[in-house]
């Protein structure tokens, strides 16, 4: 098991380096002079030179690259062009909000998605199945930003049940996390349904039925355990969708996470902060998938021997 974890960790290193290289290239690929772009329209030539020096853009490219990597190893992401604070501090101050949202949404999506999928599969081709399948199709087609706005219209403006924006009240998290979970609920439900239907046709399930077990026992005890294996992978992969969706959801609800910070930084041309946040999102995504792979290998011993 430990060998497997180490092997996966080592395999993730080139990917992380590649991600860092792309993020490094982002600033250099900006149309025009990046220092001037960041400095803004009203900047004097001295300002531009100062920023150029601050960003290390006056150095030769290979030196810049090496410097970028060495600083990255020390978790130094540079300085925000807007606030002059270390990028790392800005991110750490906001990150907990995004993680809170993503974790709550994942929990909602897993519980509701698996339940809906099991319900649909165990009532295959019944009205319940059709209803759930239609609902999940709606779920994967709905723009997350629109779902958020409509939830605000109904539950915040008309019914006054939840706050429309911000993160100041305990109930503030309800609408954003439901919004964020929507798509993933639908996807997990579809995956659970088809996976369970597949497993229910296996020989060992027929054996379980033949030896006289009750249907609920066959479905929930024997079939579900195996059917949930591929669902674990989907949950890991969809964590990425959640992080991407967090950018939109946080913007809709004014939720003070790094997604909203990213959009604000793009508009403010605070590229050091943009780079830092993009890197953070990618690193989070890689780490979560690593954790899912390890979990998967733990649950399904066959994986480890491949």
């Amino acid at each position: 098991m430990l060998t497997y974890i180490v092997r996966r960790l080592v395999a993730a290193i080139p990917t992380l380096l590649g991600v860092a290289a792309i993020v490094f290239a982002m600033l250099r690929l900006l149309p025009g002079d990046p220092a001037r772009v960041i400095a803004g329209l009203l900047a004097t030539d001295e300002d531009v030179e100062r920023i150029r020096h601050q960003l290390g853009l006056d150095q030769p490219l290979p030196i810049q690259f090496l410097d970028f990597f060495l600083r990255l190893l020390r978790l130094d992401l540079g300085t925000s062009a807007r606030t002059n604070q270390p990028v790392m501090n800005e991110i750490l101050a906001r990150l907990p909000h995004t993680i809170e949202l993503a974790v709550i949404a994942t929990i909602i999506a897993t519980i509701v998605g698996v339940a809906a999928g099991v319900l649909a599969a165990s009532h295959h081709n019944s009205r319940v199945d059709y209803l759930i399948s239609a609902a999940t199709l709606f779920g994967i087609s709905m723009p997350v930003y629109w779902l958020g706005l409509m939830l605000i219209v109904v539950f915040a403006i008309s019914l006054h049940w939840f706050p429309a924006a911000g993160a100041d009240e305990p109930l503030s998290v309800v609408l954003p996390s439901l919004t964020l979970a929507g798509f993933v609920v639908a996807l997990i439900a579809r995956m659970t349904r088809s996976s369970l239907l597949e497993v229910l046709r296996q020989d060992y399930v027929r054996t379980a039925r033949a030896k006289g077990l009750q249907e609920w026992r066959v479905t929930y005890v024997h079939a579900l355990r195996n059917a949930l294996l591929p669902v674990i992978t989907v949950i890991g992969l969809q964590f990425g969708t959640l992080l991407g969706g967090a950018v939109l959801t946080e913007t809709v609800f004014g939720w003070p996470g790094i997604g909203q910070l990213l959009v604000d930084s793009i508009f403010a041309r605070d590229y050091p902060l943009v780079q830092g946040i993009v890197l953070t999102f990618a690193a989070l995504f890689i780490l979560v998938n690593l954790a899912v792979d390890v979990l998967y290998a733990y649950v399904d011993p066959r994986i480890r021997y491949h």
């Binding site: 590649g18 723009p143 809709v252 999102f281």
Partner: protein
């Protein structure tokens, strides 16, 4: 003019060219039975028709402002009401369908043009080429979901072309993966080995013998990605980083409408519904195509 002898040989051998037409007919027969998919196709055809004929359907200009008529509710004159600059929302949606459909198709086309050959070459040759290509795909896929397109737009800047490029590159890794997987299994087929033994060039094997047999999953994936591309592009428009106002792009309309959500939710509701309907339609057609093209993949 070809010699008769040549023509005879050509006719005597059953040409593979005849097969696609028959397969297409068969696919259509199976697709037709899928009622939801037909509905999706009808919705898309409707959108395309309305987008093309927008000037005939509505008397209003989608961009010209009529401030006196701002923020009206639905009426006879304005079936969906007007926005904060007095522009007819229906007119903006109709003209906006052009942008939405064009962005979707161009972006997916870009993803296909780059992704499909890359996937085929990667799968066919294997070795270090495959290793490099797959690392590259892994790296792109590490920018989760919407973030890849968002990062690209942040670098390239907003605007129609940049949205197409960003969303297209965002879809590319998925096509590379898909085509590579098909190529890997097709490569081991006896008919490919036969072609190789006879001395057919690699390029010909890839483009004439492997890719035509790998099209079914690509078509399905491309259809579903049309929906995804629309979602992502509209998301960029919503944030104000996509197609810029006053262009009546649906995502940008939704983003502007957001400011009036308390007083006039119409402004945000209708563009959102339009995006939702278009994406749903592409997903339905994708499901139908999956069943029709490959009965083994049938969604139960």
């Amino acid at each position: 003019m070809s010699t008769p002898a040549y023509a005879t040989t050509e006719a005597a051998v059953p040409t593979p060219r005849a097969a696609p037409a028959r397969a297409g007919l068969e696919t259509w027969r199976r697709f037709r039975r899928h009622r939801a998919a037909l509905l999706g196709l009808a919705v898309l055809a409707g959108f395309a028709l309305l987008a093309a004929a927008a000037p005939l359907v509505t008397p209003y200009d989608p961009v010209v402002q009529q401030l006196r008529d701002a923020l009206q509710g639905p009426s006879r004159a304005h079936p969906l009401g007007t926005d904060f600059l007095g522009r007819d929302i229906l007119a903006r949606l109709l003209y906006g369908a052009r942008y939405t459909l064009i962005i979707g198709f161009l972006a997916v086309a870009l993803g296909l043009v780059v992704g499909v050959p890359l996937g085929a070459i990667s799968g066919y040759y294997g070795g270090w080429l495959d290793l490099v290509a797959q690392r590259f795909v892994d790296i792109l896929l590490s920018f989760p979901g919407f973030l890849l397109a968002l990062s690209l737009v942040a670098t390239l800047g907003p605007g129609l072309e940049n949205v197409v490029i960003s969303v297209g590159i965002g879809s590319m890794p998925f096509f590379v993966r898909l085509v590579r997987a098909s190529t890997l299994s097709l490569r081991e087929q006896p008919y490919i080995e036969a072609a190789r033994v006879v001395g057919v060039a690699d390029v010909a094997i890839i483009f004439r013998h492997i890719l035509p047999n790998a099209t079914a999953p690509v078509i399905v994936q491309a259809t579903v990605w049309l929906g995804q591309a629309i979602l992502v592009a509209a998301g960029l428009g919503f944030l104000g980083l996509g197609v810029q106002p006053p262009t009546p792009e649906w995502g940008a309309m939704l983003g502007e409408g957001r400011n009036y959500i308390f007083s006039n939710p119409n402004l945000a509701t209708f563009p959102g519904l339009a995006i939702f309907a278009a994406v749903l339609a592409f997903n339905l057609v994708g499901d139908g195509l999956r069943d029709a093209l490959d009965p083994r993949l049938r969604t139960r």
